[in-house]
Chain length 205, copies 2
């Protein structure tokens, strides 16, 4: 019953928290939820489709968009730029889709600043020990490097206080259900139903 | 995973919105959710059990509690007083139960004032016409009286802006599912998980 426009959902969390898995499961279970499609300057890989995986742009085109303040956030990874194009996200929101951005804390705070209605979700491991275990599981780094990466993940968890919600990844299904509950609850927020309430009070459609 | 204390849920809505039915269905489906038990000065009816349906008190006892500021809210209905005893609600919250109060807008705003963490839910009919239909269905009042009651329900809907959430009663099951989503989402709120986050960052149990 909410006003038709969709929600912008921002998801962050430390490396090893299982964000990607939880989000994939959530999107599978919740038909109106879609990933945003980023703009990038990197070359398409085999099988990647323009407008589905990315919008592929030249560096010059990207810089023009940047100068015209067209990104909700952007970042440089090695030699390539990646950005979230506001106009495209806005189009999806206007069509009634909920759009999810999986980005780091810095990018997330940028988005919140430009789009204050964004719903901010932090995905966290259930236990301190899980962070180290998962990082250990996926790399062949030295103990020293592992410690640095673990500490950096814990530093990232300190930023959780800037988010609206924390979803704990103890179980992928439960994590996805929590995200869906958050979206459903946000759709019941009074601030997202002003038109509906006005119509009840004053009539109209 | 939330910090153990339960949530205080305040539910209001105009006459004919179907609050009672939705709440009964919600409580049946959500084991940690309980009604608060009110204190009243009215006499017990047949089958009513002290501490289950109400806490039965004399007028003198009620006034003592009132003077000691023991009520989250209270009201006088005809010759009887009804009040929500904070100490009892607090006990349930500390045991990890979520407690629901079904009260009018005036009482709800009193509760929010005394207990700012209360989650405020307004239950609304889906359409303007439903209000009149339901009021018409349950009474044999004159057209004039019906109009007064319909207008009073619409006046009440104007107060929805003071609530956090609006749940639309188009379907009882969906309404109950919305309330459960709201509770689950609130349990994911960062502000309700401060201890958990601190434990992740600094260790401890």
């Amino acid at each position: 019953m909410q006003d038709k426009r969709g929600l912008l959902i921002v998801v962050s969390g430390p490396s090893g928290a299982g964000k990607g898995t939880i989000l994939a499961h959530t999107i599978e279970s919740y038909p109106t939820l879609k990933y945003s499609v980023s703009v990038t300057t990197r070359n398409p890989r085999k099988g990647e489709i323009e407008g589905v995986n990315y919008y592929f742009k030249t560096l010059e085109e990207f810089e023009t968009m940047l100068n015209q303040n067209e990104f909700l956030e952007y970042q440089k990874v090695y030699d390539n730029y990646y950005g979230t194009p506001f106009s495209k996200v806005n189009e999806q929101l206007n069509q009634g889709f909920d759009v999810v951005l999986e980005i780091d804390v810095k990018g997330a705070l940028e988005v919140k600043n430009k789009y204050p209605d964004a719903v901010m979700i932090f995905i966290s491991p259930a236990k301190r020990e899980t962070i180290e275990e998962r990082l250990r599981g996926r790399s062949t780094e030295s103990e020293e490097q592992l410690k640095i990466r673990t500490n950096s993940a814990i530093e990232e968890i300190k930023q959780a206080v800037f988010y609206d919600y924390i979803v704990v990844n103890e179980d992928v299904h439960q994590g996805a259900m929590d995200i869906i509950a958050i979206i459903e609850a946000e759709k019941c927020k009074v601030k997202n139903n002003k038109k509906f309430i006005d119509n009840l009070i004053y009539g109209g459609k």
